[in-house]
Each structure stands twice: as C-alpha cells, then as structure tokens.
C-alpha cells in the first residue's frame, strides 16, 4: 500500500484532474465573485460542450480540440444572452445570490433534461486516435488524453488571466468586482461588463467540460457530481480569486487522487465533503483569500 509508484501515480493523475477542477472553478468563481451569481448550471454547460466534442468526433471525425471552435463561441454567446435576459432581471431582487441560485438551478434542470431527451443517459467516452497512448515516467503511466485535458485547462486559465489583467474589458471586470460603485462612477457600463464576464465564464465552463471529457466518461446527470467539486474548489480557494481558485483546484485534484490510493472508494466522497464542511466551519473565506 505504501508503494511509491502507486502514490506517485495517484498524485499525478489527481493533479491532472485538478487542472480541470481549476479551470471549471475559476469560471464558477468569476461568476460568483464578480456578478454575485452562483451559477448552478455552470457544470451543465461543460457537459454540453463535451457532447459537442463527442458528436463532432463521432459524426464528423473532428478532433475534440477543433470542436472548441464551435462550442466556445456558442457558449460565450449563450452566456451573453442569459445574462442580458435572465440574470439582469434578477439582480434587482432582494437577495441576488439566492435568486440567482434558484434561477440557474432551473436552468440546469432544463439543460440536463434537454440533453437527456436528445442524447439519452448513456455514458459517453471520447476516444481519439491517440487516446490509448501514454507517457511513461519510470513506472508511472500518464495517459496522453489526460495530459491534453490538463494542457487545455491550463490554456483556459491562462486565457482568463490574460483577459482579466491585460485587456481593457478585463480590467473593467476587476474594477467592477472590487468596487461596483466606484466602477460605475468611472463610467464603466456595469451591465455590459457583467454580461461579457458571464459569457466568458460560460465559455470557460465549455473548455473545462471538454478537458474533463478527455479524462472521464460523462452523461447529462454528471454535472451534479462535478458541481460538488466546484463548490469545494471555490470555497477553499476563495470566491472571486482567480489564482486562489486555480491553486485550490489543483490541490483538490491532488487530494482526490491521493485519497484514492489510501481510502476505500466509498469513503473518498465522505472525506471530501467532510473536508468542505470543516473548511467552511473554520475558514469560510477560503485558504487563499487576498
């Protein structure tokens, strides 16, 4: 059991998974922190992008990365529309966070069942030509598809970081998050900025979904399972903090992987949920709050 190879293997695959958690988490965190929207449908959009990748591959032979050319703009646009027509109506409600949770929960149900209706509950797996290939570090096996998923996630996070820190709109988003009133006084159009940020968040969910699909099989209800991890990552990393959430994602992935090596399968989830509860009760602002 204390086999070093097993431990290393679990840690590394966990870390790769953590990359996906990080990307999904960052988008989720952006939505929550900046727009005060807890987007329960975040993971569901990820699954949608995963399906687009799957069908692109199965029907037309597209590489899943190519499908992103379709899903990213599609999801970004969906995010814009959703924010403009649904979420903005809700930001006037008494408790934005609660209202947004219920709204996006309804949305998630619609999305999940639309996909169920269209594509059935069968588990799908993305198998490309290189899916069976693997990298060998000594006795440790790293599947190429997992590495690609990880790479995609890192690219996604890099993209978000670049947007937030090196583009005009991105800086406006950060200003809005830190001080909405001040930002408004500066002439920043809050609604438009939030719309774009939300579109970006949804698009990143799409990238995350495809990245996840490289590693695991999926079906419409899977988003519920991912959602728990999203909450864990965001709360540990601190809502709204890009770097904090990214690091938290990697950490959670690592912990998940390692616990797979030490704990019986059924207890992994108990451990993770227990961890989330403990963190919430001790330090709800997250471990990395700036």
């Amino acid at each position: 059991m204390w086999n070093l190879v097993v431990i290393l293997q679990s840690a590394l695959s966990g870390l790769l998974l953590g990359g996906v958690f990080a990307l999904l988490g960052v988008g989720f965190s952006l939505s929550w922190g900046v727009m005060k929207v807890i987007n329960i449908s975040h993971a569901a959009f990820g699954i949608l992008a995963a399906y687009i990748a799957y069908w692109g591959l199965t029907l037309y032979g597209w590489d899943p990365m190519l499908s992103l050319l379709v899903s990213i703009p599609l999801l970004f646009f969906s995010g814009l529309v959703l924010h403009r027509f649904l979420i903005q109506k809700v930001t006037r409600a008494r408790e934005i966070v609660v209202a947004s949770m219920i709204l996006t929960f309804g949305l998630a149900i619609v999305l999940e069942n639309a996909m169920l209706f269209a594509w059935a509950p069968d588990e799908r797996l993305i198998t490309t030509a290189y899916s069976s290939r693997a990298l060998f570090l000594g006795e440790v096996i790293l599947k190429v598809s997992n590495l690609i998923g990880f790479g995609l996630s890192m690219a996604g996070i890099g993209g978000i970081y670049f947007f937030l820190y090196h583009t005009h709109t991105g800086k406006a988003v950060r200003a809005t998050w830190q001080d909405p009133e001040g930002a408004a006084l500066q002439g920043i159009p809050l609604n438009r900025v939030s719309m774009i940020a939300f579109g970006l968040a949804i698009a990143s969910a799409g990238a995350g979904g495809v990245a996840m699909a490289y590693m695991y099989s999926f079906n419409p209800p899977a988003h519920n399972h991912w959602l728990i991890f999203l909450f864990l990552v965001v709360i540990v990393g601190g809502v709204g903090s890009v770097i904090g959430t990214a690091v938290a994602g990697l950490m959670i992935g690592l912990i998940t992987g390692l616990s797979g090596a030490f704990l019986p399968f059924q207890w992994i989830n108990v451990f993770l949920f227990g961890l989330l509860m403990v963190i919430l009760l001790i330090k709800p602002e997250g471990l990395f709050r700036k």
Partner: protein, 309 residues
C-alpha cells in the same frame, strides 16, 4: 386570517379526512400522502429558511435521521414505529442542535453549501456503516395489513401531522419568535441592536424545523417498510423542499403549503401525460419563470394583486 379563509381551510381538511371513505383509487391516496409529507417538510423548513432567512439545503437529512432512528428502534428493541416516531423527532432535533451551532454562524450561500454537505455526508455514512444497514437498507417485518387499509391509516396520520405542522408554523409566525426571526432575516446586525439574541433564536428555529421532519420520517419507516438511504436521504428532496417553500413564498405560513401542494400536483400531472425529460424541463422552466416574475413567491404575488400592500 380572514374568517372565510379559516373556514374554507377547516372545511378542506375535513373533506380530505373523509376522502378515503369513498374508496378512491389507491394511487390517489399515495399521491396525497406524499403531498402531506412535502407540506410537513416545507412548512417546518420555513421556520429557519423563510422566516429566518437561512436556507438549509440539507433538510432531508433530518427526515432520514428520523426514519432510521425509528427503524433501528424497531429492529433492535421492537419498538413500534408509531411510538418510535417521537424519539425519532427528538433525535433529529438533537442532531440539529449539534450541527446547527457551528453552521448557523455562516451566512447565505455558505450556510446553504454546508447544510448540503451535511446531507451528503449523512447519506454516505449510512450507506457505508454496517450498523445502520449499509447500502442494503433495513427491512422491517410488520403487521400484515390489507394495502388499502394501511394506506388510508397513514393518509390520515400524515394529514393530521401536516395540519399540526401548519398550525404550529402559523403560530410561530405571529409569535415573539416569529418577529425576532423576521428581524434576523431582514438584517441580522440590526436585529442584534434590538437586543435579539440572534444565535440562540436561530438555533431554536433550526431545531424546531428538524423535529417535524424527524417525526414524519419516523412514521415513514413503517409506511415503506424497507428503509434505504437512497430513498430517505435523497438530495433532490432537500432541494425540492427549498424550492417549494420559496415558490409559495417564504415569509408567511401559507407559502410552503401552497408551494408544496401546487408543485406536487403540477409534477404529477406533468409526469403522467408527458415524457419525463420534457416534464422536468417544464419544471425547471417554471422555477426560472417564478424567480423572474414572482420572486417573493406566489402567495405574496397574489396578495399584491388583490391590493394588500
């Protein structure tokens, strides 16, 4: 409450009580039984959720705790679930007291997530602990009874329990506790400046809100006779409770009642006549619609339309 409303409600309860005598299809008895169950769950949830403003997303755990407590009391001690329902409620209340104390220090979404975690953990612990039957569940060998009779009996019991819960919640709403909880919900810091012992009051509301689901769970063990975590710790029930209470409107006793009844009926109609996935899509769309157009719930919406400010 207006005289007419009071009379019509009493009349309704009376009619419902007589309903089984007309030999209706058994399915309708089971359906109404579930409606009563959701009324009990949503109404008692409202004490902490709607009145207090602390949305517990893990409330089904108290129902499950109640079910398991009474099932175990029967299995190990031979205690009839009718008697065991009360200790079941107390057990749920006790657990609520223990986890409520640290959890209620969290605000808004964090409280929601931590209570959700709690429900998940309870589900997983029960599934994996041999003492509680594990994923096999617990089989209760009970008295043989003709199914219509047994369904009718449980129907009446749950109707009674639902009525008691509604009356109790209404009483709290108009009591000192109710005013204190409203203040906490509106602005907890201001409530503190009004000498309201917020931590204590929240905990009281949380414990009370767990008791009724616990009792209902205790009786439920007898009803289904096979207790399994997937059924009694079902997270979607937890979320549904919240939605039902908010759908009807959280700030009054009538909201969860209306929400639970309406949503159950709509759900039943949809799933009978339409494909399940489409039905659920409509369900989801309804939540979006209600949040957009009736954010304070249906009861408040109707009241406003009728001219009550």
């Amino acid at each position: 409450m207006a005289k007419t409303t009071k009379l019509s409600l009493i009349g309704l309860v009376f009619l419902l009580a007589l309903f089984p005598l007309f030999q209706p299809p058994i399915h309708s008895l089971s359906f109404l039984f579930l409606v009563f169950l959701y009324i009990i769950l949503a109404e008692s949830w409202n004490l902490i959720g709607g009145f207090g403003g602390y949305l517990s997303f893990g409330h089904v755990a108290f129902f499950g705790i109640g079910t398991y407590t009474s099932a175990l009391l029967f299995q190990k001690l031979g205690l009839s679930p009718f008697v065991g329902a009360f200790p079941a409620g107390m057990m749920a209340a006790a657990v609520a007291a223990v986890i409520g104390y640290p959890c209620l220090r969290l605000r808004g979404p964090y409280f929601a997530v931590v209570t959700l975690c709690f429900a998940f953990i309870m589900d997983l612990i029960v599934k994996n602990w041999w003492f509680l039957g594990g994923s096999e569940g617990i089989h209760l060998k009970l008295v043989e009874m003709e199914i219509r009779l047994s369904r009718s009996i449980f129907y009446e019991i749950y109707l009674g329990l639902a009525a008691v819960t509604v009356i109790f919640v209404r009483w709290v709403e108009h009591s000192k506790m109710g005013l204190g909880l409203s203040a906490i919900r509106e602005d907890e810091e201001v409530a503190q400046t009004l000498c309201i012992p917020t931590a204590r009051l929240k905990l009281q509301a949380f414990v009370l809100s767990a008791f009724f689901p616990g009792v209902a769970g205790g009786l439920y063990a007898y009803y289904i006779s096979y207790v399994h975590p997937d059924v009694v710790f079902d997270i979607s029930v937890s979320i549904l409770i919240v939605l039902m209470a908010l759908f009807g409107g959280g700030t009054s006793w009538a909201g969860p009642l209306v929400g639970a009844a309406l949503l159950s009926i709509i759900n039943e109609l949809l799933s009978t006549y339409i494909k399940p996935e489409i039905a659920r899509m409509i369900y989801g769309a309804m939540f979006v619609a209600v949040i957009l157009f009736m954010p304070d719930g249906i009861v408040a919406f109707v009241k406003r339309k009728r001219g009550y400010a």
